[in-house]
């Protein structure tokens, strides 16, 4: 085999969806032992390209060569057989199977036709141990958090990839520690001469791990460059097609006394979160930081009445309020943009318009429909403000790219004009351009007097807009940082404090360098 020959070569890939040309004659080349980053805005066609490569979609044109031989995977099973392992953007595992079954499905060890469950569980455990995950693999997958599922999906794909590993936004729900661990795995695979396609909106990660970068825009190939040859500014310009204005500047922490809007006293839930005290002022942004599984999402869900609190009470503008269900919370001017958009956020078959107005309409009651003109106006406003693409509000939301779906959910809550908005990982899967937009939006919202509680694993982002940061660990609020204390370093220290693990593991590769 010729060593210079590319491992995977795709030429002139076309993919047309009704009304959208998702890929327009895209060329892509992956060498063995290379980490190839695939970049582009939301909806640029990244996920579509890899789905065409793995046979999840039938491409409308173009050729794919693996090791110089034409391949045409009919389905993902075919691709797996060819040694292509993939992690798709939305975690695509089965919650109703055990972790081990998810890991080994289709290749379970068997003896006389019978699956050897013990052996399967042991193998899975061994594999996951390499990722620092020590969990009960005989439990159903759905009992674990998105982040853990993400790691399992990665482990599975790595295990399947004899030649090529494709990772579509694998780091979107991981925190710094897991990201480093993943990169460790990727480096090992590189040495084994496996080609890796890596999609991410985190440019720092891209610069850290990738050798080559390919940029897509509007379904077209813009350029392929080696990573060392490009600066992040140029890269962003290449992705967006225009220059991104001023990077979001760090907020000067004002120290203004704010009147308290909501106050939670001794609020908690027996299994999910230790009782805590939390007061949020009008126009204040409170950030929640913590590691995976630390209980941030649980806190948010308790606040919003998804899992009603079983201790403590809450006041809103000094009046006692009932938070026993999402409806009750919404009635009190709350809003909640959940973390897992696939299961908790989007209503897949409804149009973008309907998804945007859903919460507002539910609030008004069914008998009081929002006039169509008003609906259109709201949609137009948010599609523009959040740069949702495509701009056709009548498209079912499931046809949108992941990042754009996230924006629609955000729009849903902004449309209700809540006084207190909880955002759980609001920027997950959102591209640099929109990222900046959203951070600006958050700032504007709180200037307009909306109070925000933001959960995010991106510490620099939290640092950028939070007035106050609560650090959560082991389902307990352990620290609070105010004003000038808010720096990534302090957060990391708070998280790691009196954890007697070697500190190196928790080192963060933070800000864009």
């Amino acid at each position: 085999m010729n060593m210079d020959q590319p491992l995977l070569k795709a030429t002139k890939i076309d993919k047309i969806f009704p009304g959208v040309v998702a890929l327009d004659k895209v060329d892509f080349t992956l060498k063995a032992g290379e980490v190839h980053a695939l970049l582009g805005e939301n909806g640029a066609g990244k996920s579509t390209l890899i789905k065409c490569l793995t046979g999840a979609y039938h491409r409308d044109g173009g050729d794919i060569l693996l090791n110089g031989e034409t391949i045409s995977p009919r389905d993902t099973l075919d691709a797996q057989g060819l040694g292509i392992g993939t992690v798709y953007q939305e975690v695509n595992l089965l919650g109703n199977l055990t972790v081990a079954e998810n890991m080994m499905i289709g290749r379970q060890p068997k003896k006389w036709g019978m699956v050897q469950t013990k052996q399967m569980n042991r193998q899975t455990k061994e594999i996951l141990n390499q990722y620092g995950l020590d969990i009960d693999v005989a439990q159903l997958l759905s009992t674990y958090s998105v982040a853990i599922q993400q790691i399992i999906a990665i482990a599975r794909a790595v295990d399947l990839s004899g030649k090529v590993l494709i990772l579509d936004e694998p780091t979107a729900s991981l925190d710094a520690k897991e990201v480093q661990m993943l990169f460790g795995v990727i480096r090992k695979l590189k040495q084994k001469n496996i080609g890796i396609i890596f999609i991410s909106h985190f440019l720092d990660q891209v610069f850290e791990i990738s050798d080559t970068i390919t940029v897509l825009r509007n379904g077209r190939l813009i350029e392929s460059v080696t990573t060392v040859d490009i600066s992040s500014i140029d890269l962003v310009t290449m992705m967006l097609g225009y220059e991104l204005g001023e990077e979001t500047k760090l907020k000067e922490h004002d120290g203004v006394e704010r009147e308290t809007l909501v106050e939670f006293c001794n609020f908690g839930h027996k299994q999910l979160i230790e009782p805590f005290y939390l007061a949020i002022g009008k126009g204040e942004v409170v950030g929640f930081a913590g590691l995976l599984g630390s209980g941030r999402t649980e806190t948010a869900e308790t606040l919003f009445g998804v899992t009603p609190h079983d201790s403590g009470s809450a006041t809103f503008k000094n009046e006692n309020i009932n938070l026993s269900s999402p409806r009750a919370a919404i009635a009190n001017g709350f809003g909640f943009c959940p973390e897992d958009r696939k299961t908790d956020g989007i209503i897949a078959d409804l149009s973008v318009r309907e998804n945007i107005i859903l919460a507002l309409q539910a609030q008004r009651g069914w008998a009081n429909p929002l006039p169509k003109s008003e609906q259109d106006e709201i949609c137009k406003k948010y599609i523009k403000a959040l740069d949702i693409r495509p701009t056709d509000a009548e498209k079912p939301i499931r046809l949108l790219s992941g990042g754009n779906q996230q924006k629609v959910i955000l729009a849903r809550w902004l449309a209700t004009n809540p006084e207190f908005l909880i955002l759980d990982e609001p920027t997950r899967g959102i591209d640099v351009g929109a990222h900046a937009e959203i951070i600006r939006l958050i700032e504007n919202l709180c200037e307009d007097g909306m109070s925000l509680l933001v959960i995010s694993s991106e510490l620099d982002e939290l640092v950028a807009y939070s007035h106050r940061i609560i650090v959560v660990r082991d389902h307990e609020h352990i620290a609070e940082l105010v004003g000038s204390e808010i720096t990534t370093n302090n957060i990391v220290e708070a998280i790691a404090a009196d954890l007697n693990v070697d500190n190196g593991q928790y080192e963060l590769k933070g800000v864009i360098s």
Binding site: P18, P326, R327, F336, P338, D344, A348, D349, L350, A367
Partner: protein, 338 residues
């Protein structure tokens, strides 16, 4: 125009089935006025299709929420029995109608509570009433056919206004009213959102519990109307047979009408067309003069054909094919131009 396009598969199917009927029975489209009433096979289709059409209306909403209502046939029997026994014991037609509707409403609330509050899977929740309901109906009539002679109630089944038989008027009116309510308010969208993703809908503040009860109530009401019509039609409440297996016809009609059993997007008009397709098949079989042993095979064959025509897989293949042809055209034009 747009909506015509939307119902194209259903309308095509209906046309094909009607054409088949015409082939086996050339007088199929003949309509005249006899006894001050429209009279003809086509009218029979509309008239006999009334119970299924009515059931369809409620069933569509239930299916849109990812549910299913197997109890409608039994509810029909209950409500027919209630109406009959009301007039039998001296109540007037209005009394009979209101009590029947009330009975239907109660049945619907019961189903709704089981599904939404007790969280029992719809198919089983409604299976309970499907089994017990017929018993309740028989309890009311004591197993016999409860006949009556109340002109008012009979009018509901076989009377006519402006020469149009009452059942036709009723189902069309119910269809229009429910469509109007559902589409002119936000009800339709909220129901769909529950059916597609109940969890996300609740997160957005949709009151899934109340809406679920509501759709089962509508289904109960529709079944009550259907049951009353069925009883009025034969001037007697036949607790044993009224609405027997009609739930399957109704579900079939909903699916043929283009609403997915997986919940979500629904179309009432499609379902009503579906009901007429099913009834046309039934009537056509009766007209054809084949021996009855073949009824089921004919029905099965036609359903398979319909479903193949409407198959989403084949449709998307067709669309792909059409798009590709269209996509290929412009370059050809360009070549011509250059």
């Amino acid at each position: 125009m747009n909506s015509l396009k939307r119902y194209a598969p259903q309308l095509t199917t209906l046309a094909i089935v009607l054409l088949l009927n015409y082939l086996v029975f050339p007088d199929f489209f003949k309509i005249e006025i006899a006894n001050g009433k429209l009279y003809g096979t086509l009218i029979d289709v509309l008239n006999r299709g009334a119970p299924v059409a009515l059931l369809c209306v409620g069933m569509t909403l239930v299916i849109a929420t990812k549910g299913i209502d197997l109890s409608v046939g039994a509810v029909m029997a209950i409500c027919g029995a209630v109406a009959a026994s009301t007039v039998d014991s001296g109540g007037g037609v209005f009394m009979a109608l209101s009590l029947a509707l009330l009975a239907g409403l109660i049945c619907g609330v019961w189903n709704g509570l089981l599904v939404s509050v007790l969280n029992i899977q719809p198919i089983i929740a409604t299976l309970i009433l499907m089994v017990a309901g017929r018993g309740i109906a028989q309890l009311i009539t004591e197993g016999a056919i409860l006949t009556f002679n109340d002109e008012g109630l009979i009018f509901v089944g076989s009377g006519s206004i402006f020469s149009i038989p009452m059942p036709i008027l009723i189902w069309i009116a119910v269809g229009i009213i429910v469509t109007f309510i559902v589409r002119r308010t936000a009800l339709g969208m909220l129901i769909e959102s529950i059916g597609i993703n109940q969890r996300a809908s609740t997160f957005s503040g949709v009151n899934a519990r109340v809406l679920l009860i509501l759709v089962y109530m509508v289904s109960g009401l529709c079944a009550a109307l259907a049951g009353t019509i069925a009883a009025a039609d034969i001037r007697g409440a036949d607790a044993n047979n009224a609405g027997l297996w009609l739930e399957l016809d109704a579900i079939l009609a909903v699916v043929v009408g283009g609403t997915s059993l997986l919940g979500g997007r629904f179309t009432l008009i499609g379902s009503l067309i579906g009901a007429m397709i099913i009834q046309s098949i039934n009537t056509g079989i009766l007209l054809s003069g084949f021996p009855p042993e073949f009824n089921l095979i004919i029905k099965a064959a036609i359903i398979v054909i319909i479903l193949v025509i409407q198959s989403p897989a084949l449709q998307s293949k067709y669309i792909e094919y059409r798009d590709r042809r269209e996509a290929e055209k412009p370059p050809a034009d360009k070549e011509n131009a250059s």
